[in-house]
């Protein structure tokens, strides 16, 4: 018999796989797809921000690159948007190699602020980039030309695609957790100087983590563009895109395998319902709530929900702080 600890992740995935098929309501199905999409980018952020403890506010760059790669290939060359996914991933590697080494010399707040500045710079550059639509942004195909355009009326096909990507990312993260790299990253997160003194190649492993993290964030951006069919500088490169990933991961628990997914399951429906109730995202009420949630987590439970888990599950082991 499989021990419970091994079985429950599988159970989670099975429940996720069938959940949206139980409802015929298109709003719920759409929210379900968005939950999984948010879980992908937050889990990707978690690799560098959670395990390695490098709190990046610059991940909107990767998300934007993925989204823009998809819609640029469609808009300028008529290719199906999903073709932009590999391009976005390659571009994310280039970006990681450029911004990784200089920002990794910064620690703590300095790293966060540095990545924040780079993301702000990227957003301004994109606004002024005429070829990529400037401030107006880019559109996806209005009508499906073939199946390759991945244009569905229903959100369920997107849900299935996103879930497959999430499963791949979580499987990779799980393998990484148990590998040498997982130990190195956690050592870096716990204390960079100490890790370095024990012989961990700190800069190299932070770069590996950023490469993985950036690639999956870019993929999430491409998938977003495929599903939504529109991106502008704010919805691709805006600072709130980064904030979303940080909050979702922090709520669920940074540096844990399922933390970001748990955070997404709670926060995304909250955000979507607030927006639906208050009419559009223009009011910003959702972000006031976001800000309050962030402050409450920071003040009372910096480990996120994962920190509270052992309190309700006596068999769980308390994660070392």
């Amino acid at each position: 018999m499989i021990p419970l600890r091994r079985a429950w992740p599988v159970a989670v995935l099975v429940i996720l796989a069938i959940a949206p098929f139980l409802t015929a309501n298109p709003f719920y199905q759409r929210v379900a797809a968005l939950v999984v999409l948010a879980a992908i980018s937050a889990s990707a952020w978690n690799v560098i921000g959670g395990y390695a403890g490098q709190i990046s506010f610059g991940h909107s760059i990767y998300f934007g690159i993925g989204a823009y790669a998809s819609l640029l290939l469609f808009g300028r060359f008529g290719l199906p948007p999903i073709a932009g996914a590999p391009l976005g991933i390659v571009a994310s590697f280039v970006v990681s190699l450029i911004i990784g080494p200089p920002t990794f010399r910064l620690r703590g707040h300095y790293f966060s602020m540095g990545t924040f500045a780079i993301a702000a710079l990227a957003e301004i550059l994109v606004v002024n980039w005429k070829f990529a639509g400037g401030a107006i942004g880019l559109m996806g195909p209005a009508m499906p030309r073939s199946l390759a355009d991945l244009l569905f009326r229903n959100s369920l096909p997107y849900y299935a695609i996103f879930l497959a990507v999430l499963a791949l990312l979580l499987a990779l993260t799980h393998l990484m957790q148990r590998s040498r790299m997982g130990f190195y990253l956690r050592a870096i997160g716990a204390g960079e100087r100490a890790a370095e003194s024990l012989g961990v190649p700190v800069q190299r492993y932070k770069l590996y983590a950023l490469l993985i993290s950036g690639a999956f964030t870019a993929l999430a951006g491409s998938l977003y563009a495929v599903m939504i069919g529109f991106v502008d500088p704010e919805s691709g490169f805006g600072i709130l895109i980064s904030v979303n990933m940080v909050v979702i991961a922090a709520l669920g628990g940074v540096g844990t395998l399922f933390g970001p997914l748990a955070g997404a399951i709670i926060l995304v429906p909250l955000q979507e319902t607030t927006n639906a109730l208050l009419g559009g995202s223009g009011t910003g009420a959702a972000y006031v709530a976001y800000g309050l949630i962030i402050m409450l987590i920071a003040r009372f439970s910096p480990g996120g929900l994962a920190e509270l888990w052992p309190l309700i599950n006596r068999n769980g082991r308390r994660r070392a702080a």
Partner: protein
């Protein structure tokens, strides 16, 4: 002549940057906690100025001190309720706490005041002086001069007074300061109050010649960060010099490249700085 004009414009704006950045350097240098909501503090002060003028019909002689006092109180409250509890917690908590505060302030302002740009009438502090062909607007001159005076005052407070020595002692070593009878908490609350009061004055002054909107804060946060990095952490004279430099750089790049790209130059300068001197231009390694 245009060069002189650009330099003088840049210096006057830069002095105001220096003022709110010295607030950040105080907070940061004192307790090694970044305030991601610093620009939003400036935004709040700008709204204080705007509403004082439109509702009460009072001028800067009233609303600048009011914004300073109001923000001082706000800074102390933020320290007592939030920062005090997270500053010795995990890095994640320290970083995201003030970021959350920034979101709350910015989007509450959006909710309450709408996204519209508003501004004070330019005639509030009217008049333009001509100094050998260089035009100086009275509003910017007032802002620049006040900012320089207050930044200098903050430096003197820290280095020449007993209170300043006590604050520096706490920033140097909290435990050792406590051992010689300095209670750390009031000192750090005071540092937050003073840092926030600096944004209060700066915001009130900037509102004289700059539009007010809920999202002006983000660029101020980044400007303050760049200034503090350039000037060296915890150094008020460094922040003053760096603020002036950034003001001039901005005014030149806005003239040559257009207003839309002036931020690109400042942030680009900062990213370049990270490459070559991560410890800051005047900072020590």
């Amino acid at each position: 002549m245009i060069l002189l004009q650009l330099v003088s414009d840049g210096l006057q704006l830069g002095a105001v940057y220096a003022l709110f950045s010295s607030g950040l350097t105080l907070i940061w240098g004192m307790m090694n906690v970044m305030n991601f909501a610093h620009g939003q503090f400036v935004m709040l002060a700008m709204y204080v100025a705007f509403f004082c003028f439109t509702l009460l019909k009072v001028g800067p002689a009233f609303f600048v001190p009011l914004a300073a006092v109001g923000l001082f109180g706000f800074g102390v409250v933020v320290y007592l309720l939030l920062v005090r509890h997270v500053m010795r917690g995990p890095m994640l908590a320290q970083i995201i706490s003030t970021f959350g505060l920034a979101l709350v302030l910015q989007y509450s302002a959006l909710w309450a005041f709408s996204a519209n740009f508003v501004s004070l009438p330019t005639t509030l502090v009217g008049g333009v002086y001509d100094l050998g062909g260089v035009r100086l607007s009275a509003a910017r001159l007032l802002a620049g001069a006040t900012a320089i005076a207050l930044t200098a005052g903050m430096h003197l407070l820290l280095t020449r007074t007993d209170l300043g020595s006590r604050m520096l002692a706490v920033s140097e070593d909290r435990v050792a300061a406590a051992l010689v009878g300095i209670r750390p908490d009031p000192m750090q609350a005071l540092a937050w109050g003073l840092g926030a009061a600096a944004t209060g004055v700066a915001g009130g002054l900037i509102a004289l010649f700059f539009y007010v909107s809920p999202d002006v804060g983000n660029s101020f946060t980044l400007l303050a960060f760049v200034t503090v990095c350039l000037g060296g952490f915890g150094s008020v004279p460094g922040a003053l010099l760096a603020g002036l430099v950034i003001g001039v750089v901005e005014s030149f790049s806005a003239y040559w490249l257009g207003p839309a790209t002036k931020d690109v130059v400042v942030y680009g300068l900062f990213v370049a700085l990270l490459w070559v001197r991560p410890q800051g231009m005047f900072g020590r390694a």
